[in-house]
Symmetry: C2
Subunit: 303 residues, 2 copies
């Protein structure tokens, strides 16, 4: 099961150094999810050979342009490419009015259905679920209502030990029951306990996407133990006052969240335009939380 | 006097081949004008070292996303960069509602004044004028109301022949009158006719920007004799039916307009995503109008 994230952009609000604003493409076993959609996202998807056709769900953290100015371009391109299946957008209520206002003036009637799912900032909620994964909102602390998103794989079925299939001549039609925990009775009436036939499935994996936000420990319980945490780190520690003023985090703050939440790996991004060289941002994070990486455009992270 | 145009993007509506949608930056003697503003325009401006601070006027031809999805990003970046002087936007009335709807939901109050100048498609009008240039709208023929823009230099003052300044001991305070056509009377009472002191100024230059449009001869009188014509040529001649259906022009149509309007040079752009190699588009234009060039990103055309 693929569960991987491609960084499409990770610059802060003011474009700089040929870096693109925030967007990530999450591929879960061939199903595509877009996390934020800054200006140029569809161009970045083309550049990194990500097929638009696999994308059915777009999550927008908040209504600041560097997180969604690329949305209307994607919606328009879907229409020009004769998309017919529905597209789901998850975000704050204003997004629908912004999108509809444009299409009204462009005199465009979409060929496909656009389904808006409203996110609210009163508490965390389940915003998406299918048989394999769930997505919860994470309430962040920014200048306007903002939510992150937590992708969590569901526990899969138990795994059959291949050698047991032969040993007990297990028929194909019994396999799914055994994967769900059933014992097996052989042709001569012997009951084989499930524990002898199967082993535990892989532990469910999880990815938390947290941008934009000040340092806030209210998210710790929810993201505790995730495999990978993306957390914004807009500023170096020396610019912590600027971070506080603008509702952003420093390197040390992002890494402290990762440490306290005991996550597997930290990815940092949303870099301020003031930093062309990002190495000091990385090293400040690593001082607190060694397993940190920078969200560099085009990098693919396996969860 | 610089009068030059930098191509920032020239792809048609569906992004392809890493080409950006329509935008051009026109520099008239240090004053900046943006012609359309497709997604990624501000990123392209950075790439080609065009300073945002010199930009005070943005012209939008029509409300299709590939011509203005980059507008809100530029407006936002101006705000984040503490712009204080007004910005003028010229285009159809819906643009203001689209822009204001976004800033309302982003809870952003701009630090600078945004002044909208409404363009209409009933007839050509003067939409901008200063002491050096004028801009008229050009009524085009597309699926929704669309106007091109004609930049025309004003006739400058006459040029003084430098050797006459010495020969007749012309005082500095007389020079501006002579440039405006006055004769000069020397200290000993001799009248020197203006024609002996000056020569004609350079002929005024002009640039017409015509996108998106079907073939329409109604524009010929207005653009006749311009130095440079940008005309969209979305399709090859073999796809002329698709051009007609979508309100666009073919190579031969663009070149025929250039020929019939007797322009100095033709630049073609707004290339369909179906063409990765543009050489056949160029050669079809040149068959009709030899002095044609492709609008390639980063190219600078002097008018």
């Amino acid at each position: 099961m693929h569960f991987e994230v491609t960084i499409l952009g990770s610059n802060g609000a003011i474009p700089a150094h040929n870096r693109y604003p925030t967007s990530q493409f999450l591929n879960y076993n061939g199903q595509g999810f877009l996390l934020d959609c800054g200006e140029g996202t569809q161009l970045q998807m083309s550049k990194y050979n990500i097929k638009r056709g696999k994308l059915d769900h777009i999550f927008i953290t908040h209504i600041h342009g560097d997180h969604f100015f690329g949305l209307m371009g994607i919606l328009t391109s879907f229409n020009l490419n004769y998309r017919e299946h529905p597209l789901h957008i998850y975000g704050y209520v204003g997004i629908e009015e912004i999108v509809r206002t444009y299409f009204k003036h462009a005199q465009t009637v979409l060929r496909y259905e656009l389904i808006f799912h409203t996110v609210t900032d009163d508490r965390s909620r389940l915003v998406f679920e299918n048989s394999a994964i769930s997505v919860e909102s994470i309430i962040l602390k920014h200048r306007i209502p903002t939510t992150g998103f937590l992708f969590r794989e569901k526990s899969g079925p138990r795994k059959i030990l291949p050698e047991k299939l032969d040993q007990y001549q297990i028929p194909v039609q019994e396999i799914s029951k055994i994967k769900m925990g059933a014992d097996f009775v052989t042709a001569d009436g012997m009951s084989i306990p499930n524990s002898e036939l199967t082993h535990d499935p892989s532990p469910p994996r999880s990815y938390a996407f947290c941008t934009d936000t000040s340092y806030t420990e209210t998210i710790l319980d929810q993201i505790r133990g995730v495999d990978v945490l993306y957390h914004e780190a807009t500023f170096l520690h020396e610019h912590r006052e600027r971070a506080a003023e603008t509702g952003h985090s420093t390197t040390r703050e992002a890494a402290t969240i990762a440490l306290k939440a005991n996550v597997g790996k930290l990815i940092v991004g949303h870099f301020s335009a003031r930093y062309e060289d990002l190495s000091e941002l990385l090293s400040e994070c690593k001082d607190v939380f060694p397993d940190t990486e920078l969200a560099i455009e085009g990098h693919l992270f396996s969860i």
